[in-house]
């Protein structure tokens, strides 16, 4: 199968790679950790929805409403298959950020006798690796409720330090929310042991899968987590669509985050009761075309095979790490070996600020991310103002890495370091 995996062929499915970049260069897109590019099949799926089936889902007695509902629910089934989840466990949100906020607010809104209720003295556990989207909702939940926010520290290589797990996850712990893979360092968090410890004290485990679900096979049943969030746009899908997955028995006892149309069972002037999941968490007319577009993206990934995607990225990351090891004055921030790490490489060049590195790379058509990557506390912990980050996906190959390495040399020459 691996021999059939051809990034050069894959790039032909993505119209944006026909674009000419600054300096007349081809696009070397190394910023998929921020957002991925979109294959034509995703763009076509969105367009087809609007051209052939557009109507508000789950409302109306006409043919288009029927077709729109069928397309939208069909998309849900595709996502459920992707995660090995039950169909009703898959909730469409506008983003992973919304998904994570929905869970945090559900805890905050829960009645006192509920499994979700958070009170002063309870504990919420995160880690120093978290993206702001999986830190601030929990930090603010702690502030609103008087709960205590505690976190797993990281070691010098950017790996989660599990040595204090028994001090962090205790009888007081109500929720543990962790990233599956660091968006900055690429570290893959070994969650098995943490999930076990979380459940042993009766707490719930929330997984931020934004950097994992697009890159390797996720099976929610095997992972044993209680909630999971990821964004469509990092997985070849459109913007404006995110996934919230939760165990059905939990979802149907959770307070909704957004209220309004569609999410109700019954309404009077003074009261309302909630529909069951997934509708319970999908107030208002949803982002239908984007859900359908995301399903097309998932079909594209399934056709490649997630195991092949993971293998390809691992090989490419290994190749890149070897190239980086030969560069003077360039430090990889995070795991320097290719074990338990994803296809994200953060680095610093001594004497050149990341923003300036990014500017020089841009001159060669190379798109990278620079700065604190929405993980400011992690940057402070590492003692850095920011990093330059290259992140790989299905359309990248060794020629992209070679372009990056030679442009880094040019940057060093330009800034005379």
């Amino acid at each position: 199968m691996k021999s059939m995996f051809s990034p050069a062929e894959i790039r032909k499915d993505f119209p944006i790679f026909a674009k000419t970049m600054r300096g007349g260069n081809r696009l070397v897109y190394l910023d998929s950790g921020a957002t991925s590019q979109k294959p034509r099949s995703v763009l076509d799926a969105e367009r087809n929805f609007y051209e052939l089936h557009n109507a508000a889902v789950h409302r109306g007695a006409h043919l288009l409403a029927e077709e729109a509902s069928s397309e939208y629910e069909g998309a849900r089934a595709v996502l459920a298959g992707f995660l090995n989840a039950e169909v009703d466990e898959v909730i469409f949100t506008k983003s992973a950020t919304e998904s994570l906020n929905a869970i945090a607010y559900s805890f905050g809104n829960a009645p006192a006798n509920s499994k979700f209720s958070i009170k002063p003295g309870d504990r919420i556990v995160v880690s120093e690796l978290e993206h702001h989207a999986n830190l601030i909702p929990w930090q603010q939940l702690a502030k609103r409720t008087g709960a205590e926010l505690v976190w797993f520290p990281i070691d010098g290589e950017g790996r989660i330090d599990l040595s204090k797990i028994d001090e962090l996850i205790t009888e007081r712990t109500k929720v543990v929310a962790l990233t599956h893979q660091s968006n900055v360092l690429g570290t893959i968090v070994p969650i098995e042991k943490i999930v076990e410890a979380t459940h042993a004290v009766g707490a719930l485990f929330v997984l931020d899968a934004c950097q994992s679900a697009p890159h390797f096979k996720i099976d929610v049943k095997k992972l044993g987590v209680d909630f999971l969030a990821f964004s469509g746009h990092k997985a070849l899908g459109p913007t404006g669509i995110g996934i919230l997955w939760g165990r059905l028995d939990l979802l149907n006892h959770m307070e909704p985050f957004l209220t309004g149309g569609s999410m109700i069972e019954s309404v009077t002037m003074t009261d309302a009761t909630w529909a069951k999941a997934p509708k319970r968490f999908e107030a208002g007319v949803p982002n239908m075309a984007q859900a359908v577009g995301l399903a097309a993206a998932i079909k594209y990934l399934d056709a490649l095979g997630m195991d092949n995607v993971a293998k390809h990225e691992k090989d490419l990351t290994g190749y890149a790490l070897n190239q980086f090891a030969n560069l003077d004055g360039v430090n990889v921030i995070g795991p320097k070996n290719n074990i338990d790490r994803g296809s994200v490489i953060s680095f610093e060049i001594t004497g050149i600020h990341p923003h300036d590195v990014g500017q020089v790379l841009d001159q060669y058509g190379i798109a990278v991310r620079t700065g604190h990557h929405c993980a400011w506390p992690l940057m402070r912990k590492l003692g850095l103002v920011g990093t330059t980050r290259a992140s790989f996906y299905v359309y990248n190959d060794e020629s992209d890495v070679d372009s990056l390495i030679s442009a880094i040399d040019e940057a060093k020459k330009y800034f005379k370091v």
């Binding site: 600054r22 990341p354 923003h355 300036d356 500017q359 620079t370 700065g371 103002v385 330009y414 800034f415």
Partner: protein, 145 residues
């Protein structure tokens, strides 16, 4: 190369040898400004006496553009009246919003005209403005005190 219009020699010189980058312990106003999108941070002290900028000093972290620009701005402001200093900030702001169509008045902006090329790179304008906006904030606070 297009890059040379951004990184003039003057800018690289100020970046490697920033002026007034050591906080003066005496000041009439101190401000702390951040650029939340890239994490650049600057602390800037201004001393005003009889309506004149007596000293500007600063410390902070940031890219070559923000560091050089702050160095240029602080050197330029010392000795100016509050009114002239604020007019100079306005002239620089206008240059930054010129989308590469203006070269700037060297009599007013001195080394600041080296930053004219930044106006062609929308993502870098906020880097160039960081120190100038910090100065304006501190100068107005000093004037009001």
């Amino acid at each position: 190369m297009e890059l040379d219009s951004l990184y003039q020699e003057v800018i690289l010189d100020h970046y490697k040898h920033p002026q007034h980058k050591k906080l003066n312990p005496s000041y009439t106003a101190q401000v702390h400004h951040v650029n939340p999108s890239c994490g650049d941070e600057i602390t800037l002290n201004v001393s005003m006496k009889d309506g004149v900028v007596e000293s500007v000093s600063w410390d902070g972290v940031g890219c070559s553009i923000s560091q050089a620009s702050t160095s240029i701005a602080s050197d330029l402001m010392i000795g100016k009246t509050l009114e002239t200093a604020l007019a100079t900030v306005d002239a620089f702001s206008q240059l930054m919003s010129s989308k590469g169509n203006e070269t700037g008045d060297e009599n007013v902006l001195e080394d600041g005209v080296a930053l004219a090329g930044v106006s062609k790179f929308p993502a870098r304008i906020k880097c160039a403005l960081l120190g100038w906006m910090a100065f304006k904030d501190a100068a107005l606070q000093s004037g009001a005190n």
